[in-house]
C-alpha cells in the first residue's frame, strides 16, 4: 500500500483510499505512544526540516516529536532567528536548506499556497502544517481520526463546526476530509465569519447556534481570534460568547453520546465554557495525543513515495 501523492498539501481532492490508508496506519502509530519506549526506526537516516514562518506551539512540537519518534533527524527553523529578517526570499531560503541534503519539509506560512510553491522548487516531500486561510491537513486528519476512534465510523455522522469558519484552515481541512468520508457537515457562526457562498462546499450553513446543534454528533469548536474583533467582524467578545459560545445548557440539543472537540488554543469563557471544555464528552486532549500518531503516519507514508516529478521552477 502506498499513498498516491508524495506531498500532503490539502485534504480537498485527497481520495477516500488515501484518507483511509492514513487513518488505518495512524492506529498502528497510536499504539506506539503507549509503549515504554516510544521510538521506532523507520525514518532512520532521513532529515526533516520544520519550517515555521508563523507562530505555533502545538503543531510544531507535535511534528517534531513525531519525527523524533520515527528516528528522523530534525531541524527547526523559525523566522525570528533566521536570515529571513535580512530579507532573503522564501525560495532562496528553502533551496539553501535543501542544499544541505534534507528529505522532507514541514511548512507553516501565513500565505496560502506556499506548500504548493515549495513542491515546484524542491525535491523534498512537502507537508503542509497550515498555510494562510487555506488548509491545515494534519489537523483535519487528527480530528477525523479522533472521531473515528470514538464512533468506529465517519459515514453518517453529523459534524458541526462553530466559529470563525472563513479564516479557519482547520475548518476547511475538516470539511473536505469529512465530506469525502461520508459525514454530513454543518457550520455555524456570525455571517461576517462565514465564507462567501459557504453552501458551495456542500454543507449546511447556520447563523443560529441552537438550530445548528439539533441532532449533531460532534461539535468542533474553532478558536475565535481576538484580532478579528478589532477588524470589526463581531462587536464584542461578550456578544459572541452569548450567541456562539458552547455552554452546558446548549448541549441538550445534541445527540446522545455526543463529542466536543477544539483544535486549540482555547479561549475559555468565550467560545467554550470551562464545564464543556473539561466535561466528560470533551476529547480535546485526546486530539493532541492523536495528532502525534497521525503525523507519524503521514511522515512514514510520504517518506517512501518516491516519484521525482519535474519541477516547474528551477
Amino acid at each position: 500500500m502506498a499513498l498516491s501523492s508524495r506531498h500532503l498539501l490539502q485534504l480537498e481532492g485527497t481520495s477516500k483510499e488515501d484518507l483511509d490508508l492514513i487513518l488505518d496506519t495512524s492506529v498502528g502509530f497510536r499504539e506506539i505512544l503507549d509503549r515504554p519506549i516510544k521510538k521506532v526506526p523507520p525514518l532512520r537516516g532521513k532529515t526533516v526540516v520544520n519550517l515555521f514562518y508563523e507562530n505555533s506551539t502545538r503543531t510544531r512540537i507535535s511534528f517534531e516529536l513525531a519525527e523524533k519518534r520515527l528516528s528522523a533527524d530534525t531541524i527547526n527553523f523559525s523566522t525570528s532567528t533566521s536570515s529571513v529578517k535580512k530579507g532573503e526570499t522564501l525560495r532562496d531560503t528553502v533551496r539553501n536548506i535543501e542544499a544541505m541534503k534534507i528529505d522532507m519539509v514541514v511548512v507553516r506560512h501565513g500565505s496560502t499556497g506556499v506548500p504548493y510553491y515549495l513542491t515546484q522548487c524542491l525535491d523534498a516531500n512537502i507537508i503542509n502544517a497550515g498555510d494562510g486561510t487555506h488548509e491545515h491537513p494534519t489537523q483535519g486528519l487528527l480530528d477525523i481520526f479522533t472521531i473515528r476512534q470514538k464512533y468506529n465510523k465517519i459515514k453518517g455522522l453529523r459534524v458541526l463546526l462553530v466559529g470563525d469558519i472563513r479564516h479557519s484552515r482547520v475548518a476547511r481541512s475538516n470539511i473536505w476530509g469529512l465530506k469525502t468520508l461520508g459525514a454530513s457537515v454543518a457550520v455555524c457562526g456570525p455571517t461576517t465569519l462565514l465564507p462567501y457562498e459557504a453552501e458551495k462546499f456542500g454543507i449546511d450553513v447556520y447563523t443560529n447556534l441552537d438550530e445548528a446543534m439539533e441532532g449533531v454528533d460532534v461539535v468542533n469548536i474553532l478558536r475565535i481570534q481576538l484580532e478579528r474583533q478589532k477588524a470589526g467582524l463581531f462587536p464584542s467578545q461578550r456578544e459572541y460568547s452569548n450567541l456562539f459560545g458552547i455552554t452546558r445548557e446548549r448541549l441538550k440539543r445534541l445527540n446522545k453520546n455526543f463529542t466536543i472537540m477544539h483544535p486549540g488554543p482555547m479561549n475559555r469563557g468565550i467560545e467554550i465554557t470551562n464545564k464543556v471544555a473539561d466535561g466528560p464528552a470533551s476529547v480535546i486532549l485526546e486530539q493532541v495525543t492523536n495528532g502525534q500518531a497521525v503525523r507519524m503516519a503521514v511522515l512514514y507514508l510520504l517518506s517512501n513515495v518516491d516519484a521525482h516529478e519535474d519541477k516547474a521552477i528551477e
Binding site: M1, T25, G28, R35, P42, N304, D306
Partner: protein, 181 residues
Amino acid sequence: MDRALTRIAHEILEHNGGAESLVVVGILTRGANMARRLVDAISAIEKVEVPLGLMDISLYRDDLNFNPDQPVVRATDIMFGIDGKNMILVDDVLFTGRTIRAALSQIIEFGRPDSVQLAVMVDRGHRQLPIRADYVGKNIPTSFEDNVRVYFEERDEQDGVYLYPAKAKKKSSGKSKGGGK
C-alpha cells in the same frame, strides 16, 4: 497441524518447567493465529491461560527503504510486562530469518525477557541470518523461489500447509503437505 501444535505445547512446557513464566507473542498476521492456537493447546494441558500478545514488525523491517510497496502498519498489542519472562515468539513460516530479526529488535524496546524462544509451524530453510527455531511443526525442504503458505481455519477457511513450487503460482496447482486437521 493440531498434532504438531500439541507436541510443540508439550515441548515448551517441558523445556520451561511449566507455564508459570511463559508469555506468548505472535507475529502478525498468521503468527498471531498460530499463537492463539498454541495458547489454547497449553491451557488444555496445564489449565492456565498464558498471556498472549500480538506484534507488528513492519516498522523494524530492514527493507523499508528498498520496497516501494510499503507494508501496512498495524498495532502491536502486548498488554503485559515481559521483564523476566520466558517469551515464546511465534510465526507461521521461518525462512530467511529477517522477520525474526525485526521482531527481536522490537522486543528489546518492550523490556528484557529472561529468554526468547522461537516456535514456527514450518521451517523451510534458506536462512540469511544466524537464527534458528526452538520448536518446529515441520521441516520442509524448499527451493528459494518456492512459496510456502500456512492456512488457519479462522482466517483462511481451512487448516493446512501448502507449498507452491516456483513455476506455478495458483493454489490449485500446489501440492498439499500435511493438510487437513
